[in-house]
Symmetry: C2
């Protein structure tokens, strides 16, 4: 069958806009000669709609949009994703459905059975799992229509205390009994830098096991913290990838499912694509955050250090240099080379910058507090005050000129709380908050791959917050190589302190790092959304109690 | 049977501490003559443990604690709650279990079948639902042991687009077939000001339907945003409440299930208890946040207005006046009566206060920014700068002296974004963030019920942020009576704009309020945890996408 894979970028709750996109793609698929055009999971409303699903009016708008799209499906079939009512008087109110449209109407509903409810997923919050499965007939071909997780009944597992079989049934096994000739999967599978290989493995296994072509359409685009990378794929019955759609861009491609075995096999993204993938994901994440929020312009604080340099380069790619205005906010502890490096970067990127010192406001605050602080020596309080003056200046730019503030903290800092709440933790969006410092270095070299955009001095000098004389990050923290190795095991792999120590790490260091991670839940609770590029980002997908005994 | 209901205050992950509490209570129950002592849901680890449940080491510690507690159960039985492994190789890794302990060992496991996954609940994230049910035998009596939601198979529904029967089975109907003589329910049911009546209704229905006594033990204590009010209850077979344990306090009470029908019936909390209940809930919420975090001292900004006054009175009840130190931070726009009212309150409560002006820092910031802002008139930017100077001063007190900052915003403000991010939205915990302004007024009168603690002028004067000359809240917002009426329908009742207008509210006002709520998701995303006292609080239980089309 000739199938158009329509990988589109939806805005949540923009049902009118999403419908227009879908209708335009159906026209295009028709002109390409498609018999069937496939869209991604919950395409009509965008994924994840979260608690919009608790609004009756939202569900009604989705249903009306589906009916309108169906009217245009004459001489062509389409599969779209939408929430539909569960007509059974018991159970959750909704199903997460794939809807087969054709002959101007909804021909059949196919409900999702396996409802991911882990990490960033909350689907059982809204949906009743399907218990019946029916193969659809499209122009005489028997098609097994599945929704995302329904093909992930046995998942690759990346940590010890987890299992591949989270569910008690396998929708594809049920459908296979009805002799399908083709498998279609509609999905909204968020990006992490290693996800493409895992997806390919899961789909290839089903293709091989049932000796059937598998066509999977993924959502593309950024929705707050979540990046959907697209990279939709078509698999030949032997499990090879016959076609992979663009990453991080909308794409519509026609495949002939009878000819997939003749295609030259495509390889999924490899481990050494990691930094390029993260870069492109972050650019899309920033771009879509602004576009979908209706903003064009950004600001950030440029310190001359690595994190703000990489954030600025990514923001410039996403929004255009002309839409960015940065502040340099030196203190008495800032080195001249930091100022020079920051100016150099702003000039390289052709970004407007201003230099606003923090000393007058810092002095005024200290003087106002001097009757209360009399006789006490300076400590972290004064360091935080400097960071908060900077945060206040940046928010003033944001308020006065309508520039959204980008946060420049990285994942290593967010993990151990090396940052000032209401200071450098300010921002509408955290660009690097899911990127460890060691990878931020690699991102900087990647950004410089063809020219020196980020001054090399920014990359090679020892990291410092410059909040007291001769301060270095390594005064307070382990070296980043060590820190990030321990953090990866603790956060991504969810290993216990004892397990990490048993791998040969110094016990005191591991305990100290774990303690810092635990004691800083309160800071992360108030942090901006972190664009997610790993399998375990801080934020919605990692739900630790704020108040708990953390000192066992 | 003689049953001790042990309603205790657990700390999440303090498995050693919780175990000691449980063992002490077993001793006490024994001395009271109990045959069985019942603890609350997940008592061994505290509820909600969130992603601790993904840690193997955490589960192992829970299991060891259960074994230790069981060893002490000789001559007495106990029912405790703990996560246990699902030994089936498919499905989620854990069950949420009630464990019957006796004869020095675990006699039987009773798994939860109905896993609440809505509002603040995430149970299907971790647990496999039970599919088999077995009545337990305790000293010859057949006991139906149920875990919380298992008795909520048909729930009272408070909004239109929702249903009472969220599940496809009724555990109690299955257990009833095995002729139990008694129903035990262990629960962790969070407080909202109207929950007690709903609980009573649900349990009474089961008591009557099966003509059995029902004994339910609830958790007590504050865990970050969630308040567990205790108020455990025992029901006679006719559905009357024979016994209700204390609200907001630990309590252990012995009941004779054969004599419940002879007890004088207790009434559940009534609608006119609302303000007193909210007050006591907030006091416990503040107290437990500090105790469980290991802090004693608090600070806040006292403006002379209503919200900070009520917050301070609650904090003083929770922590003691001697542990609080407040700042008065007048600006050029602050009225003398505000300063007088603030001083009066601090003196009434015997709380240490300092006056620190914001003008010097505000002037320094303005002067630093003047080259950039030259020729532009003052606007919201300058109002926010004042709020951020105050936030910075308060955080300096917090940093220097180790006082946690309490946030003083109310729910009406949080809803419409009437507050400055990184300014007056600062704080470790939002005390009033789930209390509408109209109820904050009532809380103030309640606090003054025996003496004028809060100066009456603070309560009766028109609310103002005092960030520009003669500013009143009503310049920017509808009057609070109207605002809160619309907000309650939009937030708690989840009604659509059209539904609210159809109730007779002005269309433009309703649309404006809904728009403000929607456009301020980004602010609430970075707000402190809000102590939850309503059925729908901002925060974890209300998950709206940050980036979405909100302007339909």
């Amino acid at each position: 069958m000739k199938i158009a894979l329509a990988q589109l970028n939806y805005t949540i709750n923009d049902i009118v806009g999403n419908t227009t996109k879908i209708e335009d793609a159906i026209q295009r698929a028709r002109s390409m000669g498609a018999e069937l055009v496939v869209f991604s999971e919950l395409s009509v409303c965008g994924y994840p709609p979260h608690d919009f699903l608790e609004s009756e009016e939202f569900i009604q708008r989705c249903n009306r949009a589906v009916e309108q799209i169906a009217k245009g499906c004459v001489g062509i079939h389409a599969i779209v994703g939408a929430p539909v009512l569960n007509l059974n008087p018991q159970g959750k109110l909704l199903y997460n459905a794939a809807l087969l449209l054709g002959q101007g109407k909804v021909l059949s509903q196919h409900h999702k059975a396996l409802l991911p409810t882990y990490d960033i997923f909350d689907e059982y919050r809204y949906f009743e799992p399907a218990s019946t499965f029916e193969v659809a007939i499209v122009n005489g071909t028997r098609v097994a229509i599945t929704v995302c997780e329904d093909l992930w009944d046995d998942q690759p597992v990346s940590r010890g205390f987890a299992r591949g079989k989270l569910y008690n049934l396998s929708p594809m096994e049920m459908l296979a009994k009805q002799n399908p000739e083709l498998v279609v999967n509609i999905s909204a599978s968020p990006f992490s830098w290693d996800v493409e290989q895992r997806r390919a493995k899961v789909f290839a296994r089903h293709a091989m096991q049932h000796a059937l072509p598998v066509v999977s359409v993924n959502q593309v685009g950024g929705n707050t913290d979540l990046i959907f990378d697209g990279a939709s794929m078509a698999f030949a019955p032997n499990g090879s990838i016959a076609m992979r759609l663009k990453r991080f861009e909308e794409d519509i491609v026609l495949v002939d499912t009878n000819a997939l075995a003749q295609q030259k096999a495509v390889e999924p993204a490899a481990a050494n694509d990691k930094i390029a993938l993260i870069h492109d994901a972050l650019v899309m994440g920033v771009r879509d955050y602004f576009q979908k929020m209706g903003f064009k312009k950004a600001t950030l604080g440029l310190s001359g250090g690595l994190d703000s340099a990489v954030t600025l380069a990514i923001a410039a790619s996403a929004l255009g240099s002309e839409n960015i205005r940065v502040l340099l906010m030196p203190s008495q502890y800032s080195s001249q080379h930091s100022i020079d490096d920051a100016v150099g970067l702003a000039q390289n990127l052709n970004v407007k910058y201003d230099i606003v010192g923090i000393q007058p406001a810092f002095d005024a605050l200290k003087s106002s507090l001097s009757p209360l602080f009399d006789g006490l020596k300076e400590d972290l309080t004064e360091e935080n005050m400097q960071a908060r003056v900077r945060g206040t200046l940046l928010m003033a730019i944001s308020n006065k000129f309508g520039h959204l503030l980008l946060n420049t903290s990285n994942k290593s800092e967010a993990a151990v709380g090396y940052g000032t709440l209401y200071g450098d933790m300010n921002g509408a969006l955290s660009v690097l908050g899911d990127v460890y410092k060691t990878d931020v270095f690699k991102l900087a070299w990647y950004i410089n791959r063809t020219a020196e955009i980020i001054p090399v001095n920014t990359i090679v000098k020892p990291p410092s917050a410059e909040l007291r004389p001769d301060q270095k990050d390594s005064d307070s923290l382990p070296e980043y190589d060590l820190l990030d190795s321990v953090l990866f095991r603790y956060i991504e792999e969810q290993k216990s302190v004892l397990q990490i120590i048993s791998e040969g790490f110094d016990a005191a260091t591991v305990k100290r790092i774990a303690r810092l991670v635990n004691l800083n839940e309160y800071k992360r609770f108030q942090a901006p959304p972190f664009i997610r590029v790993s399998v375990k980002a801080f934020g919605f997908g990692r739900r630790m109690p704020l108040v708990a005994k953390y000192t066992n």
